[in-house]
Amino acid sequence: MFYRKKIRHLTKAKNLGKLYITVLFILTFLLILFNKADYIVVKKIKSLSTDVLNPVSTFVTSPVKVATYTVNKINEMRFLQQDNLKLKEEVKRLKKWHTLAIKNQRENNALKKLLNSTTNNIAIIKTTTITSQSPDIYAKSIFIKAGVNHGVLEDLVVINERGLIGKVISSSENNSRVLLINDQNSSVPVTTMSKKFNAIIKGTTDGKYLTSTFVKDEKKPKIGDVLLTSGNARIFPSDILVGKVIKITEDGFLALPYVDFNNLEFVQVINIK
């Protein structure tokens, strides 16, 4: 009798509505709690939403992207002649460098054979394109068109022809999310060419620069020093270009990343051999 009354009470439209809102609030708090606890359900939700929302996002934003692309192309057309002259000069300069590079490559290969060295410490997992990039409101991340099906797993490193891009933080079947090195929550152990200096860097608030969070033995780099991954803790392979020191501060230094994060197109997912 009591249960029947209770069921009747619950099934009244008003009470059902209240129950529905309560359930949503409980779900909200559970999700927040599970997220802080790094629970597996939250990871599943994240990867599922990446898989579902990415294609929709690409479709919905495509008219705006096409419009901005067209406007940019029209703007570029205005400077076509000047660009052509610049490119001709650059081709001449690059031809000289090309000859020199071939010579150096041969010399390098010969020396490597003599030393019996195995310097290549990276294994390429997948070369892929970027599907979308998060705006610079909070986290700095990109979505790439490769996932677990292509061997792309969490914690793998992502690079391009210019240097280090970031690290895979979540991957679904066909998509992955990469946290860029200019994000405030990234952490990259770096060193200089001389290997005498070690530090850990992260992104600044605006994401334009990299700033040091820890400097070993409080040593100071010089302005213009090239920063490479140190390979410490085996998170990132060693000797990948990261950035250039542009400012020395009291607490550490500021560096400019080599990678242009606004013009990313192709990336490579790599692993340490």
Binding site: L24, F34, N35, L53, T61, T68, S134
Partner: protein, 163 residues
């Protein structure tokens, strides 16, 4: 409008929400301000719907948008989801007092709530997920909100009349 015979304003608002959501979460190179503009517009619409189109289904709509924003913008769950759900709850509680306010006061109130919730979202993100409070970004949001508030409400009033 031809479609006005078939679709109620709430449906139009939902279509606008979807477009604004995807424009906010996907970066468009060389026109990145569109992300901030869409982000502010979506927040305007969220508050507007809460005040003028309150219904229970809004809780699930806010839940999905909050979750979507958190996952796509922060890769964590919390600030947007919590703020959106709490906002609707408080709007529902204080709705009865809104009827005594003039249109100008409601306009200013929506603007104030918008700036407050964006501020709270940024503070919560800073507190829970170590993303520094970006004052420059917040000032951009304030600027966009103030500049665009009047045209937005003008458009909203036109959509309201579609029914």
């Amino acid at each position: 409008m031809l479609l006005s015979r078939y679709l109620p304003p709430f449906t139009y608002y939902n279509l606008i929400l979807i477009i604004l959501f995807f424009l906010s979460v996907s970066s468009i190179e060389s026109f990145s301000i569109i992300n901030s503009i869409s982000y502010v517009f979506l927040h305007f619409l969220i508050i507007y719907l809460g005040i003028y189109y309150y219904r229970r289904s809004l809780y699930s709509i806010y839940f999905l948008y909050g979750l979507g924003f958190d996952i796509l913008l922060i890769n964590q769950i919390g600030p947007h989801l919590f703020i959106f759900m709490t906002l609707l709850f408080f709007i529902n509680l204080s709705k009865k007092y809104f009827i005594y306010l003039s249109s100008l006061r409601i306009y200013l109130l929506i603007l104030f709530i918008l700036l407050l919730i964006i501020l709270l979202e940024m503070l919560l993100t800073n507190f829970f997920f170590d993303y520094d409070f970006n004052l420059d970004k917040y000032l951009i949001f304030i600027f966009i909100s103030i500049i665009s508030s009047y045209p937005i409400f003008f458009i909203f009033s036109k959509i309201d009349k579609l029914q």
